[in-house]
Amino acid sequence: MSWYGLLLKPRWSPYVAGVGIGVLSWATFVFMGKALGTSTTFVQCAGALEGLVAREHVEGNAYLAKTVVGKPIIEWQFALVVMLFFGALTAKKLGGERFVEHVPKLWAWRFGSSRMLRYIAAFFGGVILIFGARMADGCTSGHAISGGLQLALSSWTFLIAMFASGLAAAFLLYGAEGRNHV
């Protein structure tokens, strides 16, 4: 298949995509002196937004200050995170997919098709997600992939904890019956 034909396929083998992400991280380590990561950007956003209304508070909070004071907020990782949106959008368009989702099928089966309820749950899911990521000092990109490939003890600890609790939470939310709805 031609390279262009590959770009038009809606789905790639997960192994091909995985190899791509692995090779991408070689490039970030060697040519950019960076490791793939995303969750620090959420701290930069929070710090910047809080800074607009309560600058002294941000400067007085050691955790925010070390991320946003005296260094650029829009830097390598921030640009990366913004472009995740456009990379995925482009991949979807090239694949010819028309996908819009307000309430996922599995969620609707278990909790009903209210958009408002789903949006609220997604918001609080996001709160929990980033709170955990910052306590662990990384997320699925910064810890699981970048740290996993460096064999970091911190990252493998995170990876195992994250999968164990994701699995438990998913079965608590949806039960074994949920497997028939994904």
Binding site: R11, S13, P14, A17, G18, G22, L24, W26, F29, V30, T38, S39, A46, G47, A48, V69, I73, I74, M83, L84, F85, F86, G87, A88, L89, A91, K92, G95, F99, H102, P104, W107, A122, F123, G126, L129, I130, F131, G132, M135, A136, D137, C139, T140, S141, G142, G148, Q150, L151, A152, L153, S154, T157, F158, A161, S165, G166, A176, G178, V182
Partner: protein, 191 residues
């Protein structure tokens, strides 16, 4: 703060290029879909593990291989504040099961057409602000408990990293072979 706001253009361009490719790969692999992530946690669809496992093994071979060949570049190993890594990971897993995405896939999912992911991203920003307030307490009670700093699986076991990489590669190869034989490649039609 806000001075400077922007990093230099080259840094931004490299970050943007990396993010574009990363987002592209995530979407093509299917992990920007709620159903695929929940399918993994419900042990129905193993796409997430296949993508992550392959990325980790390929990444490790390249990074450790290039260093062995004498190419010099910094590593980015995060501190093993083990209780924080573990409790943070447990909290993170709950958030991921509720939202249906991790931070990076949430942003990519928004680009892929998931409207509810946008609320997850907003929640994430709030979560970051909340954590910043809790950090002094967390640092004292959780992060300070055991810190093995830049430990890796290799240094911890006193082995060459290549033993660990070989073990991971074999485990991935055998695991993926068995998964494919058992389930085959599930139909991944666009829906």
């Amino acid at each position: 703060m806000f001075d400077p706001i922007f990093a230099d253009p080259q840094t931004l361009a490299l970050g943007a290029l990396t993010g574009f490719i990363f987002g592209f790969l995530l979407q093509k692999s299917g992990v920007t879909r709620f159903n695929v992530i929940l399918g993994q946690f419900l042990l129905k669809d193993f796409t997430v593990i296949k993508v992550m496992g392959t990325a980790i093994v390929v990444g490790a071979i390249g990074i450790y291989g290039m260093r062995a060949m004498g190419i010099d570049f910094p590593m980015h190993i995060k501190n093993a504040t083990l209780l924080g890594n573990a409790i943070g990971g447990l909290i993170f897993g709950v958030g991921m099961a509720v939202l249906g995405y991790c931070p990076g896939t949430a942003v990519a999912a928004a680009g892929d057409g998931s409207r509810h992911a946008i609320f997850g991203i907003l929640g994430g920003i709030a979560g970051a602000g909340l954590y910043a307030e809790a950090h002094p307490w967390v640092q004292q009670k959780i992060l300070g408990v055991s810190n093995l700093e830049k430990a890796t699986l290799a240094t911890q076991m006193g082995l060459s990293p290549w033993w660990i990489i070989a073990l991971l590669a074999v485990a991935a190869a055998v695991g993926f072979y068995m998964l494919e034989r058992k389930t085959g490649t599930p139909p991944r039609a666009a829906h």
